[in-house]
C-alpha cells in the first residue's frame, strides 16, 4: 500500500496553513463546488428523496454483499470476462502485474482510480519496467510532478496554472521552448496532443469502477474528459480495478445513485460520459478490448461490515464532503497524509490503515456537520469520527494531556453542583482577566488557541444559569 504520513497530520496541517500558493489554490474549492451543487440540488425536487433511496439500496446490498458478489462474478464470466480476487493491495498489484507480464506489456494507460493510488500501482508497474501513463488531466499533471492526488475528483486542485505550465515545460522537452502556455486552454491542448499518442500505443488500459452491477456483470466509469473511455476501448486488454463494496444489484438501482453522484460532485445534471462495460469485444465488434479482467479487492473493507463503521461503505466518492469541509478548505488534501482526504478520509483511513496511524484525522473535525448534510449517501460522518475518537481514547493513543483533561472533565461532569460552581468561578476569573476588553490574548493551558487568535472573554452568566432562567421564566 502507499506510504502514509497520516500520523503527522498536525505537522502537515501546520505546514499547509503556511503555504501561500496552496492557500490560493484552495480558495477555488468552495467557490467552484458549493454553489454548483446547491444549484443542481435545487433543480431536482426529488434530490433528497433520491438520497434516501440511494442509502436504502446500498444498505440492502451490503447486507447481502456475499450473494451480490457471487452473482456479479458469474455474470462477468458469462460475458467472457475474468474476475480476480485480491485480499490485499499486494495481491491486487500482483494480479495486475501477472496480466501485464503475460501480454508483454510495456505501456499501460490509466483512467482515474483512487483504488490504484491505494495499492500504489504506478510504483509497482515502474518497478516492473512497465510505463504507467495517467490520462485524466489532473492525474497526468500530478504524475509529472511525482505527487499524489489531493482530492477524490479533482486530483490537482492544489496546484496553480503556473505550476502546471512549469511541469509541462520540464516534461515535454520535444516541444518548442518558446511556445505560448499562458492560457490554461493551451495547457489542455498540449496534454491532449501528448496523451493521444499514448492511448494508441498502450498495450493495456486500466480503469477503476464507480459501480459494478450484479444483474449484468457490468462495470461503470463516470467521467467528463473521455480519457477513461479511450483507455479502455483502444488497447487489447482492459483491466478494471474495483473494491468489493462497489457492487449494486440492478441497472435501476445504479440509475438512482447516478442521479445523485454528478449533482453532488460537480453540480452537473449528469457527467459527460457514463460508460457501462460488460466483458471483452464481441464477435462482430470492430473495436474494444480483446480481454476484460476485473481485480476485485477487499483490502480491509470486509472487516468494516457489521461494525459501527459499516455505513462508510456506502460512499460513492463524489467528494462533496471535502468540498464542504472547512478543515479541508484550510489544509487541503495532502495534509491528511494518505489516499483519502477530507471527512470521508477521516473515517475511511483509520479503517484501512489503522487507528494507530490515522487516528488523529478525525480529531480535526469541528463537527460542524456540513459533510453529513451534503453526503448523497447520507453517511453519518461526524458520528463515525466520534467513534474513532473513542477507539483512539480506548487504545490509549491520545496524548497524556488530553487524557488527563478529559478525565478531569468527566469527574466534574458527574458532579453537577461542583461543575456549576467551577464554571461560574472560571467565568468570573476569565472576565476579570480580560480587563474589560472582551477578549483574552493569553490564557493558561490554552496556548494552542491563543497563539493564533484571541479568546472571546465570557460575558454575563453561564449557559446553565441562562438555561435555568429560561426554564423558569
Amino acid at each position: 500500500m502507499v506510504q502514509s504520513t497520516a500520523h503527522s497530520f498536525k505537522d502537515n496541517a501546520r505546514e499547509a496553513l503556511g503555504d501561500a500558493q496552496l492557500q490560493r489554490a484552495l480558495s477555488n474549492v468552495p467557490k467552484g463546488f458549493i454553489d454548483k451543487r446547491a444549484k443542481a440540488r435545487d433543480g431536482l425536487p426529488e434530490f433528497d428523496a433520491l438520497r434516501d433511496a440511494g442509502r436504502d439500496i446500498k444498505n440492502h446490498t451490503l447486507a447481502h454483499l456475499d450473494l451480490y458478489l457471487e452473482t456479479y462474478e458469474r455474470k462477468v464470466a458469462e460475458s467472457g470476462g475474468v474476475v480476480h480476487w485480491a485480499r490485499t493491495a499486494e495481491e491486487a498489484r500482483n494480479a495486475i502485474l501477472d496480466i501485464c507480464r503475460e501480454r508483454g506489456a510495456r505501456t499501460v494507460t490509466k483512467g482515474k482510480s483512487m483504488v490504484s493510488e491505494e495499492i500504489g500501482l504506478n510504483d509497482a508497474l515502474e518497478a516492473a519496467d512497465i510505463e504507467p501513463v495517467e490520462t485524466d488531466l489532473g492525474e497526468y499533471i500530478i504524475q509529472l510532478r511525482h505527487e499524489t492526488p489531493s482530492h477524490i475528483i479533482a486530483p490537482a486542485v492544489h496546484l496553480s496554472k503556473d505550476q502546471v505550465e512549469e511541469s509541462f515545460r520540464e516534461a515535454h522537452t520535444e516541444l518548442p521552448a518558446d511556445r505560448d502556455l499562458t492560457e490554461p486552454v493551451s495547457l489542455l491542448h498540449e496534454a491532449r496532443q501528448i496523451l493521444r499518442q499514448k492511448y494508441l500505443d498502450a498495450d493495456i488500459g486500466i480503469t477503476g469502477a464507480n459501480f459494478l452491477i450484479a444483474e449484468t456483470g457490468t462495470s461503470i466509469i463516470v467521467t467528463n474528459e473521455g480519457n477513461g473511455d479511450l483507455t479502455q476501448t483502444l488497447p487489447k486488454v482492459h483491466i478494471v480495478l474495483a473494491t468489493i463494496e462497489k457492487v449494486v444489484p440492478t441497472l435501476e438501482d445504479v440509475s438512482t445513485i447516478l442521479r445523485i453522484l454528478a449533482r453532488s460532485a460537480t453540480g452537473q445534471e449528469f457527467s459527460s460520459y457514463t460508460t457501462f462495460s460488460t466483458g471483452p469485444r464481441r464477435a462482430d465488434d470492430p473495436d474494444g478490448p480483446e480481454e476484460y479482467h476485473v481485480i476485485l479487492l477487499d483490502n480491509g473493507r470486509a472487516d468494516v461490515l457489521g461494525t459501527e463503521f459499516q455505513e462508510m461503505l456506502r460512499c460513492i466518492r463524489c467528494g462533496a464532503c471535502l468540498n464542504h469541509c472547512p478543515i479541508y478548505h484550510a489544509v487541503g488534501g495532502h495534509a491528511y497524509g494518505w489516499v483519502y482526504s477530507g471527512p470521508i478520509g477521516a473515517v475511511l483511513d483509520p479503517a484501512l490503515i489503522g487507528v494507530e496511524e490515522a487516528g488523529s484525522l478525525p480529531n480535526a473535525s469541528t463537527f460542524c456537520g456540513r459533510c453529513e448534510e451534503v453526503c448523497p449517501m447520507r453517511i453519518p460522518l461526524p458520528k463515525m469520527m466520534r467513534h474513532w475518537r473513542e477507539r483512539e481514547f480506548e487504545k490509549h493513543l491520545s496524548p497524556a494531556s488530553v487524557r488527563t483533561g478529559l478525565g478531569l472533565w468527566a469527574f466534574m461532569a458527574r458532579r453537577p453542583g461542583l461543575y456549576r460552581a467551577a464554571t461560574r468561578l472560571a467565568m468570573g476569573a476569565l472576565k476579570a482577566l480580560s480587563g474589560g476588553r472582551g477578549r483574552l490574548s493569553s490564557v493558561p493551558l490554552a496556548g494552542g488557541w491563543t497563539r493564533y487568535r484571541d479568546l472571546p472573554a465570557p460575558q454575563g452568566k453561564t449557559f446553565q444559569a441562562l438555561w435555568r432562567e429560561r426554564q423558569h421564566g
Binding site: A53, D66, S79, T233, L251, G306
Partner: protein, 235 residues
C-alpha cells in the same frame, strides 16, 4: 496463480459472511430469495417526475437539456434530411468533408447522394478522423443524454476519438428516463444481458482540472451535434 485466486476468493467471502454473521448454508435461503427477487424484478426506484408527459414534452426537454450540456441540436422532419444536416454541420465548422460511421443500416439507407462531395469512411475510428456519425440507441430527455451501444453498427471509438461527434436520434427513440432505456435494452439483448459497451453521452468532453476553470474537449470530442430525425418538424 489460480490457487491463490481461489484462496483469496474463499477468504474474502468468508470474511464478509463472518462479519455479516450469515452462513452459506440452507438456512440462508431467505437471503438468497431476497437477492433473486430483486435481480429478477429489477423494479424502478423513485424516478424524477421531470420527464413525465407526452412526446412533445419529452422532445422539448431533451433539446433543452442537450443545450444545457453544451451540445448543439438540429431537428429534421424526416431521416432523408439527415445527410444535408451532417453536411451543414461540417461546413459551419469549416471541417473537411469527411465523416466516419459504422455499419448501421438506418444510416446506410439515407440518401447520401444528396451530398455527393461528402466522403464517408466506415468502421472503427482512426486517429486522423475529424468527425464521426453515430445512430443513437436512444435519447434520454431527463438530462439530454444519448445512449449508444457498441457493435459493428456503431463502433464505440466513434464516440470518443474524433473531435466532432454527430449523432442521429430518431424522434420516436426519445425516452423520458434511464429506466426506459433499460426496458428497451432488455427487449433487444434479453434479461440480464448488456452489450459490450453502453455509452451514455451528455454533451462534449470537458475538464475543470486546471484551477477549476471549465474547458470543453479534454480528450474526447470538442463538439457533440445531435440531429433529431422524424419529429415532423423542419429545421
Amino acid at each position: 496463480m489460480a490457487d491463490d485466486g481461489t484462496d483469496a476468493r474463499t477468504a474474502v467471502m468468508g470474511r464478509i459472511r463472518r462479519h455479516l454473521k450469515v452462513s452459506d448454508g440452507p438456512e440462508d435461503e431467505a437471503r438468497r430469495a431476497a437477492v433473486r427477487s430483486r435481480l429478477e424484478r429489477h423494479a424502478r426506484n423513485l424516478v424524477p417526475a421531470r420527464a413525465d408527459g407526452d412526446d412533445a414534452h419529452r422532445l422539448a426537454l431533451f433539446k433543452t437539456m442537450l443545450e444545457r450540456a453544451d451540445a448543439t441540436v438540429t431537428e429534421v422532419a424526416t431521416p432523408d434530411e439527415v445527410p444535408q444536416a451532417v453536411a451543414e454541420f461540417l461546413r459551419n465548422h469549416n471541417l473537411p468533408f469527411q465523416i466516419r460511421t459504422g455499419a448501421d443500416t438506418a444510416l446506410a439507407a439515407l440518401p447520401w447522394d444528396r451530398v455527393p462531395t461528402l466522403e464517408i469512411g466506415h468502421g472503427a475510428a482512426e486517429a486522423s478522423d475529424q468527425a464521426s456519425l453515430s445512430h443513437a440507441f436512444a435519447g434520454i430527455a431527463e438530462t439530454g443524454t444519448l445512449a449508444l451501444h457498441s457493435g459493428q453498427d456503431n463502433p464505440t471509438s466513434l464516440n470518443f476519438l474524433p473531435e466532432n461527434h454527430v449523432v442521429m436520434v430518431d424522434a420516436d427513440r426519445i425516452v423520458g428516463t434511464y429506466e426506459d432505456v433499460w426496458d428497451r435494452l432488455r427487449e433487444v439483448f434479453g434479461e440480464g444481458i448488456m452489450p459490450r459497451a453502453l455509452n451514455m453521452v451528455t454533451g462534449p468532453s470537458r475538464t475543470g482540472d486546471i484551477e477549476q476553470r471549465l474547458f470543453l474537449g479534454a480528450h474526447g470530442p470538442k463538439r457533440v451535434h445531435v440531429i433529431i430525425a422524424g419529429s415532423g418538424k423542419a429545421r
